[in-house]
């Protein structure tokens, strides 16, 4: 019985780990690491998606547009802090130079989702289309994590 419970626990754990484990995509020279978002709060109309973009090619590429059926509008935004004031601004494109991964993460670059059509629910996924100048277009699935997440689940990158 004990052994059975143990096996059951292991099975459950491995399932959970698989679920939460980072999911990755590649498109030509561009690698897209674990797209994720926080669950939205109540009827909140804004959300943000985060991911990591790396370029294995020889030339810089640029993320020039984002689209999603989950929101009325999606834009690439960044944050800056000036004298204790947080400013969020759209950027035209995100440069992805070879060999230097670009992190979209809380407090920095993010895909801003404006006018969510439905709440982002923890455990669900929604499609996000990324359009690169050179690599072209790809649809990725964004994993919705708890509203309290500060970083992608299972990727412990404290203090980076």
């Amino acid at each position: 019985m004990k052994r059975f419970l143990c096996a059951l626990a292991l099975w459950a754990l491995s399932g959970m780990a698989q679920n939460a484990w980072a999911h990755d995509y590649t498109l030509g020279d561009i690698a897209i690491g674990h797209p994720w978002a926080r669950a939205s709060i109540g009827q909140a109309k804004a959300g943000a998606a985060y991911l990591t973009l790396s370029n294995d090619g020889a030339e810089t590429d640029r993320l020039i547009a984002v689209e999603t059926p989950a929101a009325k509008k999606a834009e690439i935004h960044t944050h800056s802090m000036e004298n204790g004031v947080m400013k969020m601004r759209p950027v035209e494109a995100a440069e992805i130079p070879p060999g230097a991964p670009v992190m979209f993460q809380p407090g920095g670059l993010h895909v801003m989702l404006m006018g969510l059509k439905a709440p982002l629910v923890e455990g669900e996924r929604f499609p996000l289309i990324l359009i690169f100048e050179k690599a072209g277009r790809i649809e990725v699935m964004v994993a919705v994590q708890p509203a309290t997440s500060a970083e992608p689940v299972m990727e412990h990158k404290h203090g980076s």
Binding site: R38, M86, M112
Partner: protein, 211 residues
Amino acid sequence: MRRSTLVVGLAILAAILAGSVAWYLTPMPNPDGQAFTVSKSNAPPVSVGGPFELTAHTGEAVTDKSFGDKYLLIFFGYTFCPDVCPTTLNDVAVALDSIGMRADLVQPLFITVDPARDTPEVLADYVTAFYPSILGLTGTPEQIAQVAKAYRAYYAKADPKTEDTEFYLMDHSVMLYLMSPEGQLLTLFSHTASPEDIAKGLMKYLPQPTS
């Protein structure tokens, strides 16, 4: 010998004076790291806080006098803010959860800088998702301008010329203020303060519960 001592003494005095004047004139808030403290005893009169009249997410009218002997933990933000505002509110919730009964002495307030979109209904939905006792406050544009001015909080539309009424962004101060029940600023936390930093700051200023 005596004269040189005097000169050195005067120089030191002048330096101290210059230092304190510079500190006094330093615009607030500007900490970039952890919580910093305004000492109560000989603090220069940096005036932060003051009277306000606002509407709570419950629909009730509230003023700075509505909270009795509670310590106020105040944050300015807006609900169409996908990143910093939820992070800070969550940090506040985790901090309050970690300080036991002392949390009952604290009234967390989320004051919107975006009253046009943040009606009491929108706020109710938002703030209660983080922590049951957080009160969302909104008001007329004038009331919000007044309370922000009293707290030296900055806010403005990111694009002042925008005609978009749905998706516009706000720039805003991201300080967290701890105020005494008498309305004195006890400490400020920057947006980089962790829940542990906030909890530590609260423990420092909140009295031991008596009952």
